[in-house]
């Protein structure tokens, strides 16, 4: 029987079941909808050897690649729109073998997640043939005996925990989605545990007005973290391009110096990893947040 959802007291409480070595799916796409309150809390846990999985990741995936808690990053794409430069830490960690960065195509990733969600030994996909985006341990190129068609046999990609953002949820885990799903649905369906970070927790009755946007009983754990996608956009916030540009610049400078040991302390300062989400947002400042809320 599926247990009812619970409301987490804070981000650390929400993540209490996450342990080293897990596969953690991160929701959101590019500059939007990443559960940064949960990502920051994840970085404050004493964890190692996580496999971080993302579809169209933003700089949160780059941050996690440099955080010291990830041994592998599986993502179709990692980048920031409106900011020049490639993801600095993922690039650096990959170059030096600090993180095992897989090449994967988004269609193949969704197929692997579907295989996990449907408890299949494998699923099949007819795209990405002949590319290195299919050159990973999940994929094997096959030929159909009956038709001669080439295809990929794609093994399931298990997701232990999916962390994602949504506009709101009720205490029962009914989730109010914004509209575009950012590709999160694949992770949500594949995951053993779904932890949603929302702008606000609302009574179930409040969801009645927009039933087409409600995903029923979708999350096992609900965390209220208003403005918690910062520096990424949400229904409440615009993305903070200046912050993202400063981040890319700061990490690129460390890369130029070759000072990997300075990465984690720099991330701790930038993301205020010695405090909770309020401390981080306070460091950004009310005027700046208000501009992004306009």
């Amino acid at each position: 029987m599926t247990p009812h959802a619970r409301v987490a007291e804070n981000a650390a409480d929400a993540l209490s079941g996450v342990t080293s070595g897990m596969h953690v799916g991160i929701g959101g796409a590019l500059n939007a909808g990443h559960p940064m309150a949960l990502v920051r809390a994840l970085m404050q846990r004493d964890l190692t050897d996580l496999t971080i999985v993302s579809g169209f990741g933003g700089m949160e995936i780059d941050i996690l690649a440099g955080s010291g808690i990830a041994k592998r990053v599986i993502a179709a794409f990692v980048g920031a729109e409106g900011v020049s430069g490639l993801p600095p830490l993922l690039r650096w960690a990959g170059e030096e073998g600090r993180v095992d960065a897989w090449d994967i195509d988004e269609g193949i990733l969704l197929t692997a997640l579907r295989a996990a969600a449907q408890k299949l030994p494998y699923a099949t996909w007819r795209c990405g043939l002949g590319t290195h985006a299919a050159n990973n341990p999940l994929c094997r190129q096959m030929k159909d005996d009956a038709t001669g068609a080439h295809y990929l046999k794609v093994r399931p990609l298990p997701i232990d925990v999916c962390l994602y953002w949504a506009e709101a949820a009720d205490p029962l885990g009914n989730v109010l989605r914004w509209g575009p799903d950012f590709g999160d649905t694949g992770f949500i369906d594949a995951a053993e545990t779904r932890i949603v970070q929302v702008e606000r927790i609302v009574p179930t009755e409040a969801l009645n007005a927009t039933p087409d946007r409600v995903a029923p009983w979708q999350a096992e754990i609900v965390l209220a973290a208003p403005l918690g996608t910062y520096p990424f956009c949400s229904t409440t916030l615009q993305d903070d391009i200046a912050w993202l540009a400063d981040y890319v610049s700061a990490m690129a400078q460390l890369h130029e110096r070759g000072d990997w040991a300075a990465v984690r302390p720099a991330l701790e300062r930038l993301l205020r990893l010695d405090g909770d989400d309020d401390a981080f947002l306070a460091s950004i400042g009310i005027p700046r947040l208000r501009r992004l809320m306009a």
């Binding site: 169209f56 990692v78 729109e81 690039r91 990959g94 988004e106 193949i108 795209c127 043939l129 391009i241």
Partner: protein
């Protein structure tokens, strides 16, 4: 923006047909501007998918077109909801994509994953959904906003987009889907012998193109000069950039 940049965007726009559905990927502001320019000139009902949002028949405010496909206001103004998790469920009606690349090779393959330079592996952003988006597409392009021997190479280090007609055919994929590789200096078309130059920018000699290309290529006898940007095109592009209808 220089005149060369403008002509590059217009060269992309000219490839867009009135009945296309154009896919604008991450950080593809040039493709987006090209699509919106085409919409203003010859494709008023052009269908554009800008990553997180559908904008139907040009009704979205042009002022919302930003450098980001996932900007809050743009998503809020969407006219239909984009479900990323099901984006590839309809391969019978794939969209027209203009793939970017770190490298493009003489066979028409593109690489967004990584390459080796001075003995070090340099990672790119990743292939995204392009391997799937281009596999069964009727038409797709590679749009490379720079033209140099580092980007246009004999053989890509890794393949994100399979453009090589022979390799595609061997895998049962439509062999002629890659229409052209478009750069600021010209355009190449795939042939059974590799890419051939079919269009050259005015004021750039064939020798200039050869020097700045990292592979040997043949030039079509009927290789044409890229038509200069027209006043209508220039005006339309300026209005797009100004966020005007």
């Amino acid at each position: 923006m220089s005149a060369a940049d403008d002509l590059y965007v217009i060269a992309i726009a000219r490839r867009i047909r009135i009945d296309d559905i154009v896919h604008v990927g991450a950080s593809q502001l040039d493709v987006w501007q090209a699509a919106e320019t085409a919409r203003r000139l010859w494709a008023p009902k052009l269908r554009v998918v800008a990553a997180g949002s559908f904008h139907l028949c040009g009704a979205a405010s042009p002022a919302l077109m930003r450098s980001r496909t996932y900007a809050r206001d743009l998503i809020s103004a969407r006219q239909a909801t984009f479900t990323q998790s099901r984006v590839f469920d309809d391969l019978k009606r794939t969209r027209v994509a203009f793939a970017g690349a770190l490298q493009v090779d003489s066979r028409g393959n593109a690489n967004l994953i990584s390459f080796t330079a001075k003995g070090k592996i340099v990672r790119g952003p990743g292939s995204g959904g392009l391997p799937t988006l281009t596999s069964h597409a009727d038409r797709f392009f590679i749009a490379l906003p720079r033209h140099d021997a580092r980007s246009l190479v004999a053989k890509v280090d890794r393949v994100s987009v399979l453009g090589d007609p022979r390799a595609r055919e061997a895998l049962g994929l439509p062999p002629t889907s890659l229409q052209a590789v478009i750069t600021p200096l010209g355009a190449f078309a795939p042939t059974s012998d590799g890419l051939a130059l079919v269009e050259r920018t005015p004021s750039v000699s064939l020798e200039d193109v050869r020097v700045r290309t990292g592979f040997a290529f043949s030039a079509y006898q009927d290789c044409v000069e890229r038509a200069p940007i027209t006043k209508d095109e220039q005006d339309a592009l300026a209005r797009v950039r100004a966020g005007l209808a």
